[in-house]
Symmetry: C2
Amino acid sequence: MPEHDHDHDHHPSAEAMEEVLNRYMAEHGLKSTRQRSLIIDTFFSLGGHLSVEELWSKVREQDTKVSVATVYRTMKLLHECGLAHARNFGDGQTRYEAAAGRHHHDHLICTRCGTIVEFENDRIEAMQEAVARKHGFRVTSHKMELYGLCRNCQRETTPQPRA
Amino acid sequence: MPEHDHDHDHHPSAEAMEEVLNRYMAEHGLKSTRQRSLIIDTFFSLGGHLSVEELWSKVREQDTKVSVATVYRTMKLLHECGLAHARNFGDGQTRYEAAAGRHHHDHLICTRCGTIVEFENDRIEAMQEAVARKHGFRVTSHKMELYGLCRNCQRETTPQPRA
DNA sequence: ATAGGTGCAAAAAATTTGCGATTGC
DNA sequence: GCAATCGCAAATTTTTTGCACCTAT
């Protein structure tokens, strides 16, 4: 499980997310269904960086009949309305992470044990803006991932599985 | 094709890469074959951010018989010995990019037309190090991608395909 | 009523692997 | 000669889709 940075290891409440989502759904003529609510509640209450497979297995604990397809479709929705970010940390699967209501943040990833630490740094963000402007870009989002060894893994020599 | 930043739009020569690769191969008991050389030469002479599919199609122009599997296997090798970086820009495929002999750099990606601009910024890198250190990490590599609209796409309103 | 949603199973797309036939070293 | 490679096809893995049947609105 990911360690979190000092000032933002809170997740937005699933209820708050439903609010945002409801507005989006109303505007787009989408319907609220039992399986969507279940998937969304599960996603936001779990937190972290979830693969569809992981999320699906948690959802199935509540309702065995929900199909992967629905989880994929729902996560695509959440992504499109900006409530979830899609991440790609190198293993072959897309992971989703709660977006709205949280500060933007980036990731430190231990390549040995898989630990993920979140952080944010306003000065770096400001400099990113500046660089982009220099190249004529207007930035709408970004990803920054630092890969390396966490404190423990710098000492350890015994094999340890990734995440 | 990607625009390049001021001071490093050179690609390392395929020959220089063969050198590094040969050393690696000698140390690991790997063999140099016709298809590997072809793939490697093609990869380094093309430059850019290539999907396996794209690279394969170029390779096939020289030798119809090379299989995708070999391209995958060769790129994995290049990646393992540090000569190629694996990237994931959001479309569902891994892209490879020449690594050794180039300065490290990051990416500005236009979400409308797919243009990729490379840049580097030492101050940002220094701050990344600092942040990582604060969290006890020793950074070995990183990825930073800024998504947004390039100069052209901020003006245009007509539809334009990605990449 | 009806547009949108769901499950299921088949389809795609991306990548990996088993294997008998090569081929560097 | 022998271990490493190759091509090919089959297998995996991840994600998408077609379709007949449901269900919010």
